[in-house]
Amino acid sequence: MKADTEKKHLKRISHWKLYLVILLFGFIAVLFLSLNLGYAPIPYNDILRILTKQVPLLNSFVETTDITRTAEVIILQIRLPRVLCGALVGAALATAGVTYQGIFRNPMADPYVIGASTGATVGSALVLVLGVGVSILGVHTLQIFAFVGSLTTVLLVYGISRVGSRVPVTTLLLVGIAMSLFQTAIVTYLKTVASDKILHGLTFWIIGSLAPTESWDRVWAVLPFVIVGICISYFYSRNLNILALGEDQAQHLGVEIEKVKLILIVSGAFLTAAAVSISGLIGFVGLIIPHLTRVLIGPDHRILLPVSAIVGASFLMFCDALSRVVMGSGEAPVGIITALSGAPFFIYLLRRKKKGYNV
């Protein structure tokens, strides 16, 4: 029986491609579902034709004359960018979550663990409450400030934690906590001076929502960061595996530990900053998706990272679709849906394993 172990291992690796194909089909299914759901339901058949019409070469084969111009605009100009933003944000948060859990060797780590969230909140609160920078940067001010706030906070935390040529993980996490507390105090102060209307907007932003993403410029703004970030994390996926043995051991196995740590933290910070800049602080995706995929396919980052990205993207698209239909006329912030559906599912996962949860 043990002689099969080798074959089994090789087989498991060869199954990875199959998993990815299946998940990609799942992703496309959720994408169509998300395009279908909303205030004005549009039939799948129409959605398919509208989309195909946009593809060069294939567009001559489809006929869309029977579809209203309104439906076309809803799909192409409103729902598609929003759904794609949801996918990008979900993929970014899940990838950053896997990356940080790997670097910090801590299953409780999430993309916000070293200050990315509070940094973004300070940035957006400055814009919303005090109107900083709006005159210069115009309509994108909030996104730019959130992005810059998130990124600078993480880099600051990393810089402060540096001891000589090393950045000890414990110090990094503690500095992250201290920085979060400090920034929360700033945000709390800004809240006390804000008007009710602004406070409502800020709260909506903190919970996280994809409602402001119904335009293509948001997609183009974050797409490069998300693609590059995911690629960088994937490039170092085997190093992330080895990091599970501890930093010294990883170095003994040829990992240039401080370099890899810096690159991955910065790449994770870009992913997170890009995500929060367009959607606010959507919780749970970055924590739960890595756990879920690890339970399903094991801890090997070479498969964990791509699967997490796809599952994260699908999960957030799905939650966003729900957020558009559950409340009837209005819509619930997607952050509430992810927390409401994610937390119980997480607890279920924890309880399911008999011997306690092996991460």
Binding site: I13, R105, G246, D248, G254, R294, G298, P299
Partner: protein, 442 residues
């Protein structure tokens, strides 16, 4: 072939200097052991050789290359490390962990191939871990995990293997298996091995050379027979020890002795009749209790003789395998006369040492209390055609007390101590010898 040269390195944590001018050189096919007390810098030495802690002074060379100038990956291809403890965060299987050893030999995006798996399987067979290749590393016991980590290091196919107390979590059977395996690899694959060990005897038995470290400095370096001496053990570990060549393994064997408990001296002298090691434990116990111990007649090279030497016990000696001469007998009587008790240990009696019982009889006549420790019945250890038994019976009839074990003996001595001290004082005052016999008065 590979050479590892450590050239006068200093290492510090902050302002605390841990290693001070450490220098040695190791070649392929050599197995070196580092010994030293806690905090002597053993693990730090491994860290600095494995490129984790850069020395503040000095250099470390693998052949002609300074390891701190080589690339991490280049070092990893030549040098593997087995750490003291390996906490592993995620649920990898043992096989996946071992395969990580292939990392320095794979390209960034490479997947492990059949060859990599074969190398891993081979290493796992050697460390007897293939049986749980499929199991999660987090479910394995400490010893099993350590063997997996050693397999991972071997999968790296290094020329140099560093180990930081590799046998720490292993039970004795696995300890020996791992050490045998390391020796085999060292000799057959010409691996260069440097390991930190806690156990002198394991190190002495398997290592070609030893380094004794104390406070970050090398106290002794070289072949174990030259480094692991009684004097060095005392200096480095601050314990007295018996260092002997083990009759079976042929390796040096160190037996550390517990530290004396600093009992105040009792000003009472116990003379011991023993031999063949039967009195060794008692000599140590009585010395620790604060008694002055003398012994005789002991044959040279007898275990009890060696113990007496070690404990600095005054003893009358006789050449090995020789009967006790008149001269030694007289010297023994002389020594006995100065003692307050005479203890006869459960030793074997034959023609060679029968005169010791004669001496005991003489002692009894002069009023010295005799205690007969009879852990084994005399019939089983009388090789003098009953003469020893006769002596002992006579002694018993004249008041010698028989005790069954060391504890009883100590209790008896304690209960008699006060009476004896008094008697001693009286006899000193009145100069009337043997006015009072403590044993007969009971």
């Amino acid at each position: 072939m590979v050479n590892l040269n450590i050239n006068g390195i200093d290492c510090s944590y902050g302002s605390t200097k841990i290693l001070d001018d450490v220098q040695f050189a190791v070649k392929s096919g050599e197995f070196w052991g580092i010994l030293g007390p806690n905090g002597s810098g053993k693990s730090t030495l491994i860290k600095s050789i494995s490129r984790v802690l850069k020395p503040t002074k000095g250099t470390i060379f693998i052949d002609e290359a300074d390891i701190y100038k080589l690339k991490t990956l280049d070092v990893a291809r030549r040098l593997a490390v087995v750490p003291q403890d390996s906490p592993i965060t995620f649920d990898f299987t043992a096989l996946e962990i071992v395969l990580m050893g292939r990392n320095p030999h794979m390209s960034q995006f490479g997947m492990e191939k059949k060859e990599d798996l074969d190398i891993a399987k081979n290493a796992m067979d050697l460390t007897d871990t293939w049986q749980f290749a499929d199991r999660s590393i987090t479910e394995l016991s400490g010893g099993e995990r350590q063997r997996v980590i050693i397999a991972r290091a071997l999968t790296q196919e290094p020329q140099i293997l560093l180990l930081d107390e590799p046998t720490n979590h292993l039970d004795i059977c696995n300890q020996l298996e791992i050490m045998d395996l390391l020796t085999l690899l060292c000799k057959t694959k010409k691996l260069l091995i440097v390991g930190v060990f806690h156990d002198f005897n394991l190190a002495a038995r398997y290592c070609d050379s030893l380094i004794l470290l104390m406070n970050g400095k090398i106290v002794a370096v070289g072949e174990s027979s030259r480094t692991l001496t009684k004097e060095n053990v005392k200096k480095v570990f601050r314990v007295d020890a018996i260092v002997k060549t083990h009759p079976v393994t042929g390796a040096l064997h160190v037996t550390p002795l517990s530290k004396p408990q600093n009992q105040p001296p009792k000003n009472l002298t116990v003379h011991m009749v023993s031999g063949g090691g039967t009195g060794s434990t008692l000599m140590k116990i009585l010395t620790d209790e604060g008694y002055t111990v003398t012994a005789g007649v002991l044959h040279l090279l007898d275990t009890d003789y060696e113990t007496a030497q070690l404990l600095k016990i005054q003893a009358v000696t006789e050449a090995s395998f020789s009967p006790i001469t008149d001269e030694s007998h007289q010297a023994n009587l002389e020594l006995i006369r100065k003692s307050d008790f005479l203890v006869i240990a459960s030793t074997q009696f034959g023609e060679g040492n029968l005169r010791n019982l004669e001496a005991a009889e003489k002692a009894q006549e002069t009023g010295i209390p005799i205690i007969n420790l009879e852990e084994t019945p005399i019939a089983e250890r009388d090789f003098s055609m009953g003469k020893a038994s006769t002596y002992l019976t006579k002694l018993k009839n004249h008041g010698a007390i028989t005790v069954k074990n060391t504890n009883e003996l100590l209790q008896l001595l304690n209960s008699l101590e006060e009476t004896l001290q008094q008697q001693k004082k009286q006899s000193a005052d009145k100069t009337t010898p043997n006015a009072f016999h403590p044993l007969k008065s009971r």
